[in-house]
């Protein structure tokens, strides 16, 4: 808590002047909001893609490991997924730009050819594959182990009596999971997703390396020019900073901090609300 407060105080003191810098420090955007809006958009978009891909997959893997698979296969699978968490983000970045992104180009070409009428897949296609969709998928792989590990732990904590009671009432295994495991594990699952989301929102190096950023707000997922994320933008611009731009960068950091905080708070509130309803 003290660390959190310390970070917040630092961000506020150093960041607030960033809201009121002279125009030249906002790189052609005019004011702070014009500078940060597309960054905020990019951050949320990349994190959303990551969550959409990672959450169902992670819960699926966690369920298989905790309730479906036999022990001899569940153990190694869980272990391998956990190992993913130990890979540093630069390594994901290197893998992303050198191997994963070029491999995605044919898929993007296909998406553009067949689904080009959707605003998400308008041409021209990024010839190197460094799109926000690629960045989101890399993020998905990075947050997968956190969500999987935590939800697996919570799933296995379900009281055996609850499960057996459900089965005894004639539920199939899937019905048992829906009736006994999910309600019991809900708050833990939300915690897992929140941790994953926190990492996706704040991930810096992998996004900076993989994503071809610098673009404005756009829902096109396969273009050359993409909105970059706040954290990646700080990493990119920090190296050659001057006192003026530094304040602006820290101010964007403050915005990211507030967004993460709000999202967490909202999620907790929703879960708590559900609990209250159930208790009644």
């Amino acid at each position: 808590m003290a660390t959190l407060a310390g970070v917040f105080i630092f961000l506020t003191i150093e960041g607030v002047p960033g809201f009121f810098q002279e125009e030249q420090f906002y790189k052609g955007a005019g004011n702070f909001w014009g500078y940060v809006d597309h960054l905020l958009f990019g951050t949320v978009l990349a994190a959303t893609i990551a969550l959409i891909v990672a959450v169902p997959l992670a819960f699926g893997i966690a369920l298989v490991v905790s309730h479906y698979a036999p022990k001899w296969i569940a153990g190694p699978v869980a272990y391998v997924i956990d190992l993913l968490a130990a890979v540093p983000s630069v390594v994901f970045g290197l893998w992303g730009i050198n191997l994963f992104a070029p491999k995605m180009v044919p898929i993007y070409d296909w998406l553009n050819a067949h689904l080009g009428w959707l605003p998400f897949f308008e041409g021209p296609v990024n010839p190197v594959g460094t799109t926000i969709l690629t960045a989101g998928l890399v993020l998905a792989i990075m947050i997968l182990p956190i969500i999987t590990a935590i939800s697996r732990e919570v799933f296995t904590q379900t009281p055996v009596l609850h499960e057996e009671a459900a089965l005894a009432l004639g539920a199939t295994r899937w019905e048992m999971i829906r009736l006994a495991v999910f309600p019991y594990a809900k708050s833990g699952m939300v915690s897992a997703v929140m941790l994953g989301l926190g990492r996706a929102l704040g991930e810096t190096m992998a996004v900076a390396m993989v994503l071809s950023g610098g673009g404005g707000i756009s829902f096109n997922l396969i273009a050359s020019s993409n909105p970059t994320s706040i954290a990646a933008n700080i990493a990119s611009q920090y190296k050659e900073n001057t006192p003026g731009t530094l304040h602006v960068l820290i101010a964007t950091g403050l915005v990211l901090f507030l967004v993460t905080f709000l999202v967490n708070f909202a999620a907790r509130w929703i879960v708590a609300g559900n609990d209250r309803k159930m208790a009644r």
């Binding site: 660390t3 970070v7 790189k27 052609g28 730009i97 050198n98 992104a101 070029p102 021209p124 990024n126 010839p127 190197v128 594959g129 460094t130 956190i146 935590i150 919570v154 904590q157 009281p159 019991y184 708050s187 833990g188 915690s191 941790l195 926190g198 990492r199 704040g202 810096t204 190096m205 900076a208 390396m209 071809s212 950023g213 610098g214 673009g215 404005g216 050359s224 020019s225 970059t228 990646a232 990493a235 990119s236 611009q237 920090y238 190296k239 050659e240 900073n241 001057t242 006192p243 003026g244 731009t245 530094l246």
Partner: protein, 373 residues
């Protein structure tokens, strides 16, 4: 309910995770370069002892490795630390007195009062000498084409998105012998704020006769297009695509083909000698003091065999230091860097261009006057 116990079990692990994430985030970028610090086996020729700390431009990092090994070979009891934080942090730390010298891609100027602040820190005018000159290559990846000749206006048109196909007449006219395909051009630029971009855009705006409508800037001025992080990111993006073109430090382009740039009436490849030549013919910046060797790089030179797309990086120090020890250390180090030997070491390790004789002599004179005061 049992749920509270899960919460209890989760809370500490959540806290630990969050903490470790913040800690790793802070930890990155704090590494110091002191390669070769235990080089004490070599001949004991120096009598200097102590620790010499500097920070700044990451462009000089590779050269600094060579200088570190060479300098500590001469002075085994000295520890040289150079922290490649980037030019901005290097300048800030120098002004705040945290380091004895700084490396920077853009010379100290008074746009944000940094030059005045640095002079105040030193008590006298600062010393600024060119230490690292490196050609910036325009490299491309196009199936069936290995060599290309372009002038500044055409390069500007390509990077500004005005010329979009490889068989555009503007390119074909300059390359009558090349068999150019109708592939789309994908220009790749740096998305981070960098000295390479600043020098490249400076070249485009000065040499292209108005074909480049933007101001020189460390941050890429054109909206949209392919962007990549760092020199290695640009090289990777150009390598992975077809019809891609980008710019990077010439020593880093690897197997990629590079463009010969039109200077005067001939086409010049990005070589070390051609780069050093430009520094020699460039005029000093306005208001430069005796000890300030900052130059306005002459991008429009027509000098035969000169290559004007270069990155020029400076080392910055004070004329006087409070203690004799600091003064001796900085003086010895700076003398080594601008010496023929030091420049040759950097050329070998980092592929930079050694300073030409005239520039080197003036730099040597300036740094040999460093003293305690």
């Amino acid at each position: 309910m049992n749920r509270t116990s899960i919460r209890k079990a989760l809370a500490p692990s959540v806290a630990v995770l969050a903490l470790s994430i913040t800690l790793t985030a802070c930890g990155a970028g704090n590494e110091t370069t002191d390669s070769g610090s235990d080089d004490s086996s070599s001949a004991e020729t120096g009598t200097l002892t102590g620790e010499l700390n500097g920070a700044g431009a990451s462009s000089q990092e590779k050269a600094m490795e060579a200088w570190s090994v060479g300098f500590q070979g001469l002075n085994p009891d000295v520890t040289l630390n150079y922290n490649p934080l980037g030019s901005g942090d290097g300048r800030t730390q120098f002004i705040e007195g945290g380091t004895l010298f700084a490396g920077t891609d853009s010379a100290f100027d008074d746009e944000e009062g940094e030059l005045t602040a640095a002079n105040e820190r030193c008590g006298t005018d600062i010393i600024q000498v060119p230490s690292y000159v490196s050609p910036i290559a325009v490299m491309f990846n196009l199936e069936g084409v290995d060599s290309l000749q372009l002038d500044a206006a055409t390069i500007a048109g390509i990077f500004d998105g005005k010329i979009t196909s490889w068989d555009d007449p503007a390119i074909a006219d300059l390359n009558p012998d090349a068999d150019l395909p109708a592939t789309d051009i994908s220009p790749v630029h740096r998305q981070d704020d960098s000295g390479t971009t600043e020098n490249f855009t400076d070249y485009l705006s000065q040499a292209s006769d108005g074909a480049w409508p933007h101001e020189p800037d460390g941050l890429w001025p054109v909206k949209g297009g392919l962007a990549a992080e760092g020199t290695s990111g640009v090289v990777a993006a150009v390598t992975n695509g077809n019809g891609t073109i980008g710019y990077a430090d010439a020593s880093q382009v690897g197997e990629l083909s590079v463009v010969d740039v039109k200077v005067g009436e001939e086409y010049v490849a990005p070589t070390a000698e051609a780069a050093a030549k430009v520094v020699a013919v460039s005029p000093p910046v306005e208001g430069a003091t005796e000890t300030d060797m900052a130059v306005e790089v002459d991008r429009t030179t027509t000098e035969a065999g000169a290559y004007p797309v270069i990155l020029l990086s400076y080392l910055v120090a004070c004329q006087t230091y409070e203690t004799q020890e600091d003064a001796d250390l900085v003086k010895a180090f700076m003398e080594y860097v601008v010496s023929d030997e030091g420049q040759a070491a950097a050329a070998e390790n980092a592929g930079s261009a050694p300073l030409d004789a005239e520039t080197a002599t003036r730099a040597q004179d300036i740094v040999s006057a460093i003293a305690a005061g």
